[in-house]
Symmetry: C2
Subunit: 365 residues, 2 copies
């Protein structure tokens, strides 16, 4: 079985990009001009293949062409008096695995979400970019926030990506705005959406793994936890405390951290997750201001960012409903296969074959 | 593993057609007018989903609108003096499994292919439609024959299917003509092409199984054989004899015969291939004169036909190169899984575990 799964990894990589992830472009194709709807559907959405489209696609967006979103005074004026949702964490890692507050092992930590005046959010994002800050702020809310909290500036970008809308056949389900600093990053996960990810200022750095490689990320169940704000001490500085959800709630999440904080942590990652660290590199790309990444549904992605001169990265992503087709059924099938299964049965002795068989039941991570 | 594969079968069926194969339409969607290229690509090619398009799509084809291909005198005149390839078998089953001529078991039998004057081919197709005829003739050649042997009548149909060509992005690789009688049928197989199958006269009856159900067809290796013409006896009647290829050549082929000739053969089929006969029905549809079936790449299909008033069924199929994408990699992975594997290991006792492990190696049927 392991051999079959490895064969799938290799074949899928070759079909996605014969050059491989190690090529100069990190394995992601780039288009110099926006594709036609048919080309986008045929060459990228249908084969589930990422692509970066050059800034020609967005040069008519006022947010970019008139540099509106690089201009603090414009943003403050346009969003004056608006409340926005800011995600607060101690280290920029929300929706990520961290040490559990009350037992051994890891938990899945959600940010503390605070609604605040936009000017205050902008100030926090700037000041919490310093490594010394005990909190990191990330203005985001994956609830169509561009058309909600940020409606006042929504006209500065296109309401949808016209060639994607025509290809996919309907308007985006959600359009989200993201304003963060260099410390925020997003751990490996996948979404059930076709994602058009446009960077407005700064840069986003993506690691991408195709859905065929789900086993390399060791998706396991972790107890859910969330940061809560403890009383402000020492002149009002916010302090965050992690609490497990009660009653206990389990969240399936990718175990791999591609950029562990220390050499020791890296060693532990390598020995725990050899399929990731000893295998082929993920596809890797940087999306610059004005560019759009098509991030296909079901692809695992890890995201970090580099700020603009104002210390910020701003992006807008368009989520289109995905089509649930044969690829999706195949993915669920692949995911249901426990890779340890055959080797466990093969290595077991007669006396404990029963327990090995238990391990071999289909898992649904 | 079996449970996972069964889960895949169920989920893929639900995604292809929530109504299922047992619905009135046999599970195949019908369109009253030709789709736009985008619709065809998005709703059918990309999700790998069959569809029948009404005769509106072909009403401008002279072969149909002027009934040219139902007219013997027209066909004879237009193709006068042309040689065409005729496939001859004892029973209408070419590229099918039949009893091996020299050992136990089955072999994969190819037709005896004879080049003859078109008028003679037409006569043979008519006369060999009788059950008493010891030979069945089928004029066909899957080598782009409409634009080759039948070039003189190629203008009676469209050279390609315009909305399919625009969707797929290039012209068909091959366009084939098929002229047969009620006795010819085609055993379960799949093609690495997107297939647009237009019936001109008579009807074609398809059984269709999605690629996810490959294990239900018990693809196994069979020795290749071919019919050869033995000396004409008794006043010139053709006699066919089956010979195994030398040196032995193995052909992987679907073992299931959905319409066995006798009750005894049916019982044997049911006990040998329970996953097919005890499982969900295949999708089932009839394509009538003027209609086009989109038969997606990699779908298994079995074809029989009903003749027109002249005793013939005539069809033209357009083969477009398929896109080798994630679906294809997933298919190869699925096919590499030996379904007997886990149950064999689970049921084995300590002393013969080694041989069970041997069985569990990935198979490539």
């Amino acid at each position: 079985m392991e051999e079959s799964v490895r064969g799938l990894w290799t074949e899928a990589r070759e079909l996605i990009n014969p050059l491989g992830a190690d090529s100069d472009s990190g394995g992601i194709e780039r288009l110099e001009s926006p594709p036609s709807p048919l080309q986008f559907l045929r060459d990228f959405v249908s084969p589930n293949k990422p692509v970066i489209i050059s800034s020609v696609a967005t040069r008519h967006w006022p947010a970019i062409s008139r540099s509106l979103w690089s201009d603090d005074s414009y943003l403050r004026r346009a969003l004056s008096g608006r409340s926005v949702s800011v995600h607060l964490t101690p280290d920029g890692r929300a929706d990520a695995l961290v040490s559990s507050p009350s037992k051994d092992g890891l938990c899945f930590a959600s940010a503390f979400v605070q609604s605040m005046d936009f000017a205050e959010a902008l100030r926090l994002i700037e000041t919490t970019g310093e490594d010394s800050s005990p909190v990191v702020a990330y203005a985001q809310q994956q609830d169509d926030c561009l058309r909600g909290e940020y409606a006042a500036v929504a006209g500065d970008v296109d309401a949808h990506i016209p060639w994607a809308t025509e290809a996919i056949g309907f308007l985006p389900e959600a359009v989200n705005l993201w304003i963060g600093n260099a410390r925020s990053h997003t751990s490996y996960h996948k979404d059930h959406y076709e994602n058009l990810y446009a960077v407005i200022t700064g840069e986003k750095h993506f690691l991408l793994l195709p859905p065929t490689e789900v086993h390399r990320l060791y998706v396991r169940d972790y107890p859910a936890a969330r940061y809560i704000a403890s009383s402000k001490e020492n002149g009002g500085e916010l302090k965050l405390k992690l609490e497990l959800e009660e009653p206990e709630t389990m969240v399936p999440w990718c175990s791999v951290d591609p950029y562990p904080a220390s050499d020791e942590a890296l060693s532990e990652q390598i020995s725990s997750f050899p399929l990731y660290f000893n295998g082929r590199k993920p596809f890797q790309c940087t999306v610059r201001a004005g560019e759009i990444l098509y991030l296909p549904s079901m692809w695992f992605h890890h995201v970090t960012q580099s700020p603009d001169d104002n210390g910020r990265t701003i992006a807008v992503n368009y989520w289109y409903d995905m089509q649930f087709d044969l690829k999706y059924a195949y993915y669920n099938f692949l995911q249901s296969i426990n890779l340890k299964c055959l080797s466990a049965v093969a290595s077991t002795q007669g006396h404990d074959r029963h327990s090995a068989k238990q391990d071999c039941k289909s898992s649904e991570p």
